[in-house]
Amino acid sequence: MEYVYAALILNESGEEINEDNVTAVLEAAGVDVEESRVKALVAALEDVDIEEAIDTAAAAPAAAAGG
């Protein structure tokens, strides 16, 4: 999960979500970083609209709370 959170922090700070930045965040948090996962994450996020994903999440819990 920490890899994805790292991406979310970078998204908020406005920094580029690249391998160096993700790795830096994770290392600062004491994570033993796996290079291949960082690569995969960065590649996978290339075509993803992060803001939209976050907004979707904001709308989602409403349904959950209904029950």
Binding site: M1, Y3, V4, R37, A53, A57, A58
Partner: protein
Amino acid sequence: MSAESESVRKTENLPQWKEEEVDELVDFVESYNSVGVVSVTGIPSRQLQAMRRDLHGSAALRMSRNTLMTRALEEVDSGFEELVEHISGQVAFVGTNDNPFALFKKLEASKTPAPINAGEVAPNDVVIPEGDTGVDPGPFVGELQQVGASARIMDGSIKVTEDSTVLEAGEEVSAQLANVLNELGIEPKEVGLDLRSVYSEGTLFDPEDLDIDVEEYEADLKAGVAAATNLSVNAVYPTSRTAGQLLSKGAMEAKSVGLQAAIEDEELMPDLVRKADSQLRALAALIDDEEALPEELRG
């Protein structure tokens, strides 16, 4: 035919008596806030007496010859003459100091079911309901079918297989149908004092006017409460009924602001953590490459 009418017939060649009767009718009309004309058609006199007793204290009935009732209404004038057009058939005056709407409700409530006889006109559709008639197999099944009911023999008795309208309102009851209904114990008529019109403190009311829909008033009442609640909350004018809602609204607004601004407040933290978690999952859901995800987010 009632006892009063009988006596009227015997004395109809006595103009002096007629005068006195009209005077009494005038007194009756003038002594009530609301006076109506009710039809008493088809009410057996014993039942009529029972109704009279039921109404005692809230309304009074007065019967007479139609010509004399008409004369009395014309003599009183001042609006009551509008009732004259309803004087036809077997009718009576009903007088009350109650609310005419309340009178109508009372009269409707006192109506009872009654059998219908051959030759009578059906006041409403006559329906033979689906079900077991309890009648043993025999010629009765044919009679049922002849009057238009869908009937057959099943499990040792005669059954009506579906609700069957055997006569429509306004049609005349045949002898055969009367027999069938009687055999089944179906009483299709609503018998009672049928209010034709009421003149009340300056206004003539028809039954349609008086037939109030209580549910509609209840709905209006609720809409009124909702309107007041909305106005109170939206205009932020707290009342003892709405102050709790206003507090709740304020608390929700604060929470909403706190969550959107991610304010580091102890109370907000659990929700902020959940928000972050659901954002994480939403983002993970858009990632195709499982290599990029930890196990718990795959799939």
